[in-house]
């Protein structure tokens, strides 16, 4: 056990720090409040800049435009990005999930065709996984693909598709063999979102925004060469993607949460409670300390998980711990913020009296989705129960 950074890790971090110091845009704070549709071209050009510095996909192998960074270096990458409050990258699903899956399961032709444009944000990717009747039970999905010559013909509906409105391509899970057991008859297709028969509709969420879309496929023709991995092996292809999602997503949250708690502590000093600063109120102190400690523990858990993955080579079901931990912690943290702010906590961004331009009311509502998106807490607990503890499957 040695938690000091190695010479390589230090060099990696310092190079990145230097690059960020002269390249990170200064006007992100103005842009971030605009609707995503407006700021998207801004985020694309930021990603292009990162790609030019070979920072867009540090985890990817060097031969595909990455840096073959270790998991620790990836964690450092996200920490440094958060430290300078860098904007997110436009193609976050392509970089974080779909690109790695194409590199792992794709043909040489597919890698050549898709990877460079994922990196440069020329082609934005979305994921077609969940369906109205296949959420937690993903393998029960019904969107079907029928072989017709050298094309598949796709019919069905997907929901909860992030970036659907801007997506050029979609990693789509479809049923290619209706007679096989439900996990066995699935295939992953790479679908051009401009194909005839694809329709994208916005899905308005409880925050009022539309981060997600519904996708409709009516007789959409997809060439056979766009099958990712093997036909009827789509479950394995899709699951490897989800493990990346659970493993890496938490890594970038630590400093975001640190920023929340730092700001809450600042607010607690200025908000009065019973005639003295809330920061001196024993109950508020207990709650802030609990959140602060859990934010640190989240990071300790992540670092231990990274070391374990580095030793074993693959992200495992332990990623479910991270998912439960960060999502439930974020909800507790936002509740503490609400308690601290009192009636002001509810004020929305357009109210002149809103604290911090309404981020707290927004975050309170938005984090409600955290324990649902990317696998519900219930599914994560099933995964731990069955795959980690060896309990019999409950379903």
């Amino acid at each position: 056990m040695d938690l000091n950074l190695t010479a390589e890790e230090l060099a990696f971090r310092d190079e990145l720090r230097l690059w960020l110091a002269s390249n990170v845009p200064k006007d992100w704070s103005e842009w971030r409040e605009k609707p995503m549709e407006e700021s998207y071209s801004y985020l694309r050009s930021w990603q292009r800049k990162l790609h030019e510095g070979v920072w867009a996909a540090v985890s990817w192998p060097k031969e595909y435009g990455g840096r073959s960074a270790t998991l620790m270096e990836q964690a450092l990458f996200w920490e440094e990005m958060a430290r300078v409050d860098a904007p997110p990258m436009a193609n976050s699903l392509g970089l974080g999930l779909i690109g790695p899956t194409i590199i792992a399961c794709g043909t040489e032709a597919q890698k050549k065709r898709f990877i460079p444009k994922i990196l440069s944000a020329e082609e934005i990717w979305c994921q077609g996984f969940s369906e109205p009747n296949a959420g937690s039970d993903l393998a029960g999905l019904q969107t079907e693909a029928r072989l017709d010559g050298d094309h598949y013909v796709v019919n069905g509906q997907k929901v909860w598709t992030s970036y659907g409105w801007v997506g050029d391509w979609c990693e789509l899970v479809v049923r290619t063999d209706a007679s096989a057991a439900k996990h066995k008859g699935l295939t992953v297709l790479l679908v051009d979102m401009k194909s005839p028969g694809v329709e994208v509709r916005p899905l308005r969420q409880m925050t009022g925004e539309s981060e997600f879309n519904e996708l409709f496929f009516r007789d959409v023709r997809v060439p056979v060469k766009n099958v990712l991995g093997k036909v009827n092996d789509g479950w394995n292809v899709a699951v490897s993607t989800l493990m990346y999602e659970r493993g890496s997503y938490g890594a970038r949250l630590h400093l975001t949460f640190k920023r929340y708690i730092t700001r809450l502590i600042e607010l607690a000093r200025s908000i009065q409670r019973n005639g003295k600063p809330a920061a001196d109120d024993p109950l508020i102190r207990q709650k802030l300390a609990q959140c602060s400690a859990e934010i640190d523990i989240m990071r300790f858990n992540q670092m231990r998980a990274f070391s374990r993955i580095t030793a074993t080579g693959v992200p495992g079901p332990e990623g479910s711990i991270q998912k439960i931990f960060w999502s439930e912690l974020n909800q507790r943290l936002q509740q503490v913020a609400q308690e601290l702010l009192g009636p002001y906590g509810q004020l929305l961004a357009d109210d002149p009296r809103a604290v911090d331009k309404g981020i707290w009311s927004y975050a309170y509502l938005r984090t409600r989705g955290n324990t649902i998106e990317a696998g519900t807490s219930e599914v994560q607990r099933n995964i731990i129960g069955h795959f980690v503890l060896g309990l019999p499957r409950s379903y």
Partner: protein
């Protein structure tokens, strides 16, 4: 950066597990807890042979000079076995205090016999106020003599000497000193006995004036948290095994999500406590600036987690979990005793608050 255990650390942890499984199985632990002191001479000499009694102390005093991470791994395994007797009191508590405050001559006199397995010892801290804040202690030494009462002194009856924390310093009192009276308190944890130590003009040797005990207390606090992690691990193992074999409605109860999700939470709480304890151990070893915060985070989280894990484990066992024969209540008892020892979660949350709220920059980390 590497947050996994090194090969040597893995080896130490595995051999400790083998040792405790062989030398202190449940039946032996139960035999000892039914005795007055929970101390066993034969077991102590085996602990000594393993080098455990001198684990973190300098070789000059007969120690093995391993680090805090190694100590916490040992304590985790000791906690998993619910090791009865004065190991924590003697080695972790008295040993760390003496190592921190004693002169070389005093260490030779008091620490070396601990390392060699010849002496048992403990540290007397709490008074009737039951406050862990050293500023609130009343007992004062006058002309090398102590008069007053200490409470909740662990394993005092088998101690050869007692290290006494007084207002004006740290003192060593011989167990046989005239004017020292030890009487048993009846505590919930049957494996770690508690005593009242009454001093009536009792001779005491000063081993540290104005000594700062925060570091040895941080080591002891983390060791308690490490024991809790071991206890949680064992509670989880016993419970998962039960959930796989116990059948109701024709199915193993572990198949029901109401049970399975409780097991998943036990796993999450155990692993998160372990991460916090390992980090605190490393921070102590490295004298990292955030060591004190890390210790409080570990103790705060594992105190609450151990109680939660115990609750879930007993609940999943149903009626069986409520019986004397089942070991779970013994871990549950230890968890409660260790929760309050060296400050419960509320105490440590306030300590964390004083470090992160009252200081200016929570973003400051060692590698920043």
């Amino acid at each position: 950066m590497q947050f996994g255990l090194s090969e040597n650390q893995e080896f130490l942890k595995e051999s400790a597990r083998k040792f405790f499984t062989g030398e202190c199985p449940s039946v032996e632990m139960r035999r000892l807890m039914e005795t007055d002191t929970a101390y066993d001479e034969a077991l102590w000499s085996k602990l000594t042979d393993q080098g455990y009694t001198g684990i973190i102390f300098p070789e000059a005093y007969g120690g093995v000079a391993l680090g805090k991470v190694e100590l916490m791994l040992l304590m985790e395994e000791a906690g998993r076995a619910l090791l009865p007797g004065p190991f924590f009191s003697t080695v972790v508590l008295a040993g760390s205090v003496l190592d921190a405050v004693g002169t070389p001559a005093q260490k030779k006199q008091y620490l070396a016999p601990i390392c060699r397995g010849e002496a048992r010892a403990t540290v007397a801290i709490l008074e009737s106020s039951a406050s862990w804040n050293p500023g609130q202690l009343q007992l004062n030494a006058t002309n090398g003599r102590l008069t007053g009462v200490k409470l909740f002194v662990s394993d005092a009856d088998v101690a050869d000497f007692i290290v006494v924390v007084a207002r004006n310093g740290v003192f060593v009192v011989d167990r046989k000193a005239p004017g020292l009276k030890i009487s048993a308190m009846s505590g919930m944890d049957l494996t770690r006995k508690l005593y009242v130590a009454e001093f009536a003009n009792t001779a005491a040797e000063e081993v540290g004036a104005d000594a700062d005990l925060s570091r040895p207390f941080d080591i002891a606090t983390t060791a308690l948290a490490a024991e809790l992690v071991g206890g949680m691990q064992r509670t989880l193992e016993i419970t998962v095994e039960y959930a796989k074999t116990r059948k109701q409605f024709g199915k193993p109860i572990g198949m029901f999500q109401a049970v399975q999700h409780q097991c998943a939470d036990m796993y999450l709480e155990t692993e998160s406590s372990r991460s916090a304890v390992y980090y605190a151990a490393w921070a102590l070893e490295e004298n990292s600036p955030d060591a004190a915060t890390a210790v409080s985070i570990a103790k705060m989280y594992s105190s609450d987690a151990a109680r939660a894990v115990g609750n879930r484990g007993i609940q999943i066992h149903g009626g069986m979990g409520f019986t004397w024969e089942n070991d779970l209540h013994l871990y549950y008892r230890r968890a409660k005793a260790s929760e309050t020892a060296f400050g419960d979660a509320t105490f440590h949350r306030e300590r964390i608050a004083s470090m992160v709220i009252d200081s200016s920059n929570v973003l400051a980390t060692k590698n920043a």
